[in-house]
Amino acid sequence: MKSLLLAMCLVLSLPNGALAQSPTVQDLLQSQRALIEKSSRRTIGPAIDALVASGLPQMQNVLEAWQAKGMWQRKGDGFFFAARKNDDGTFILQDFEDGADVATVSSAEIKQLKPNSGVRAMIATALVRFQLTDTDITKRADALDSISRDPEAALLAPLRASIEGETDPDILARKVRLERLMTMAYDTDVPSRVAAINDMSGDLGVDFRATLNPILSTSRVVSPTAPDGNIAREVIVGSDALTHSAAYALLVAAGGAPVEITADARDTTLEAHIDGGRIAGFPVAQLSSEAVRDQAYDALVTRGLAPPRVTQTDIDASLASYRFFDVYDDPSPAVTSAAEAALAASETRVAFGQAADLGLDALSLASIYFLAAIGLAITFGVMGVINMAHGEFIMMGAYTGFVVQQYVPNHTASILLAVPLAFAVTFGAGVTLERLVVRRLYHRPLETLLATFGVSIALQQLAKNIFGTQARPLTSPSWLDGAWVINDVVAISYIRIAIFILALLFLALFLFIMKRTRLGLETRAVTQNPRMAASMGINPDRVNMLTFGLGSGIAGIAGVAIGLFAKVTSEMGSDYIVQSFMTVVVGGVGNIWGTLAGAAMIGGFQKGVEWLNPSNTLAAQTYMIIFIIIFIQFRPRGIIALKGRAAGD
């Protein structure tokens, strides 16, 4: 007990001794003691400011401890300490000044400070300026995140101060950029704001535009003459920006004109003055047109029973005697004009960026159409068989991928496994279909269409019975997640890049098989003249079967690829079948380059229309189909038409 007392005396004497030289952490805390003890979001501000303003490096620890509910107050003298708990339930108090252990006390002697969430948020803001110069790089990055999320004029100075000592180039770049943005928004010096805006003029970043927009915010002012302030523009009544009724409403709100009597208000007044089946002498039954109702109301007005109607002439007269202005909230014309110019420059560049982004979108859509159509380019384009079940082969491939993922949990391995399996499954299905149905109908193309349609509805319903009607996910490997972000405007997801590459691979594969292999040679021979080919020793039945299987197999692989970004459902095939046929027909039957051109044209056109009319993909598809129908008028045989006898009907 004696030793404890002695220790306490020692501890007590320590801060008091230091007081003589310069204020210690404890002195500062004690000076704000009343506020800290009863901390609330509304009152704590000055206390935190005072602590931070001291500039003491230990303050960071104090604030962090406080924020984490790690600051304790000794009941005896009201001093604040950090504390850690011993195994026996006692606490060791630590001084904030140097981190030294001060005393061991029981839990009854001390009280934990529990700041509420509002106070903790304010402490966090205050901490940001310390964290900007923290040695831990992640803390500095966090601090920058926090500032850009919630910028504040007070943080500009510490941010500037922290740039000097920054060592990490990435963080430095972020700090400099943020400093420029905050200078625009918060600096008090007009020339430096203008300079900051001009520095970044034309920048593509979303943050830049988000900073400029509040600078350029305006409020609409009604006034007979031009008002004081930084006028953005005069708004002409009757233009798109300000309709007559909106202008009059503004005028009414500003007290410059009487409230307009709406039709509803007029009718309410009329109803209130029904007297024995008549209103101001007009029989109620006659009030079945706007004109008569107006007359009846005017009669009420002359009897002094209602406020006069505001006629169109009155409205026009009122509007004519006032002018409407948009006035910048920011008082400095130099800043706002620089910001307008910078925003315009940005928007021009953003428009270019968006055009590039649209191009990428169109490219990936074209790749998808190409993938869906390439199998068809073989069965329809080369063999001339209309396979309405082609879409269902795409679906079968996608479901194969889904089933594989049920057994192989590793996404990368399962996709690598799913691709050959999907090919095998749909190749088998294609060969079966060719042997059982298509072969018997080679000379009746319209009936092939109908028979394969029968297969299509049967397969679709079969898939529904097996897998249910709900959409099944086909999860892509994690390395395909995310997007390649070129800047804030242009970005493309890795999956779309993968599909583009896959489309190119398929193109190469198709060309290789058709031009460089025995099968391709035989296929071309059989398509051109089956009898002649047969007399040369080629078995047309076998070649047709293999070709059909190949086309179907490629549809299966396309199904895996399409399933990765669209849900796998039993109807996914029918979503693509019409587009696929159009791609082949528009491109020109019998030529893979035609299919490529067709896919590019359809994809590009559809994205183009979507760009003109965003948020309406339905309209885009409608216009695309109209476009195709008209296009077929001018090139009935597609973009790339085969010439000579091979092109025969």
Partner: protein, 391 residues
């Protein structure tokens, strides 16, 4: 229509007699005027089936006789339905709105009525203004004319474009399919002015008619039977004359007919437009019985089913189209309605609701492969006739 036409085509007479008998029997058995053996909803099913038979006859004319496999005739069918649906919906909404407004203290003004109707009809697509295409929705006569004119005009323009650039065979099929897909996508938009994917509803209620549905359903049944009878007569007459010979010639060898000096494109265009008009009438009779029409009705799949019905019935014979359509659509509604008994295999119970489409698809493949003449080829065999060449 002279005597020799009917004499040369006894099947027409037989068909008309059978149709009249059928109508009579249904009327006697119905709830509205008869003993009540057939429920009102079943009378509606039969009436709708008659409308489908009518469009099937049109399909048979264009495909079975002219050799043009159109996969877009349901676009015309749907348009016909939309045209009559606009009047039905407008007129009924007008009455409701007028009744509601007349309960107010002041008599309603024309502006109030118009705004009220607009709100009622277009509220679901977030609008209250009447699109331009509704300008004549208050006139039954004009909308009835549009039932024929709008599908006819679309067919005329589309057909003129397609036939003059000599799009034939499967290409034409795909193009017609694109047409109906385009129409359905267009109608799916709220901006189309036809209530987007909500479609037009409440069409079973005739404005100003207080008769119960059991009676109204019979009216429509009779109208459908009459339309089918007249349509059959018209198409049979068309195909029996010189015109019919020319379009069969086009089907069998287009180039040869062209070299003989016939304007193949004009003939095709005439057939295409005529069948579109018939389809429009069929649709206008169908959708008031169905009660609702929405853009899904004109999706490409519907038109393919139409081809399926005609093919199963037997192309190139008008009664084949009727038999095929009636058979498949009635059997289809029997199976999908859950009335067909499930087959319990012990390890798996076949529920026909789930498996009917599989059966239909496969049987369709089998018909195409083994019975290109369809069901009606059996009728022909019974009648001792030899099969007409139909390729």
């Amino acid at each position: 229509m002279n005597r020799s036409f009917v004499v040369r085509n006894p099947s027409v007479l037989i068909f008309l007699v059978l149709l009249s008998l059928f109508t009579l029997v249904v009327t006697i058995l119905s709830e509205g005027f008869g003993v009540g053996l057939l429920s009102t909803s079943f009378v509606k099913v039969l009436g709708k089936t008659l409308c489908l038979c009518l469009i099937a006859i049109a399909m048979d004319l264009i495909w079975g006789y002219a050799g043009i496999l159109s996969l877009g005739h349901f676009a015309f069918f749907g348009l016909g339905g939309y045209m009559i649906g606009m009047w039905l919906m407008y007129e009924r909404t007008r009455q409701i709105v007028e009744n509601a407004l007349s309960e107010g203290v002041l008599p309603p003004t024309p502006e109030e009525i118009s705004t009220g109707i607009g709100n009622q009809i277009f509220g679901v697509v977030g609008s209250s203004d009447f699109p331009l295409i509704w300008a004549f929705a208050d006139s039954l006569v004009l909308q009835l004319a549009f039932v024929v004119l709008v599908p006819g005009l679309l067919a005329l323009v589309f057909g003129w474009l397609a036939f003059r650039s000599r799009v034939t065979g499967v290409y034409l099929s795909i193009l017609t399919q694109a047409m109906t897909l385009g129409l359905s996508l267009y109608l799916f938009q709220n901006a189309s002015g036809l209530r987007g994917n909500n479609g037009l509803s409440g069409l079973q209620n005739l404005p100003g008619v207080t008769a119960p549905q059991s009676v109204v359903s019979l009216w429509f049944f009779w109208a459908s039977a009459l339309a089918l009878g007249l349509g059959y007569l018209l198409v049979a007459w068309v195909v029996s004359g010189k015109f019919g010979s020319v379009i069969r010639g086009i089907r069998d060898n287009e180039a040869r007919v062209r070299f003989l000096g016939y304007s193949v494109e004009t003939y095709k265009l005439a057939v295409f437009t005529l069948t579109a008009c018939i389809s429009g009438i069929a649709g206008a009779l169908y959708y008031p019985q169905a009660g609702i029409i929405n853009p899904a009705e004109v999706a490409p799949i519907a038109s393919i089913y139409l081809a399926v019905w005609v093919a199963i019935g037997g192309r190139g014979r008008l009664y084949g189209a009727v038999i095929g359509t009636a058979f498949v659509s009635l059997v289809s509604s029997w199976f999908t309605g859950g009335q067909a008994p499930d087959i319990d295999l012990g390890f798996y119970a076949i529920k026909w609701v789930d498996w009917w489409l599989v059966l239909l698809g496969l049987s369709f493949v089998l018909v195409t492969l083994y019975a290109p003449g369809g069901i009606s080829s059996f009728v022909d065999k019974l009648a001792g006739k030899t099969m007409e060449a139909d390729r």
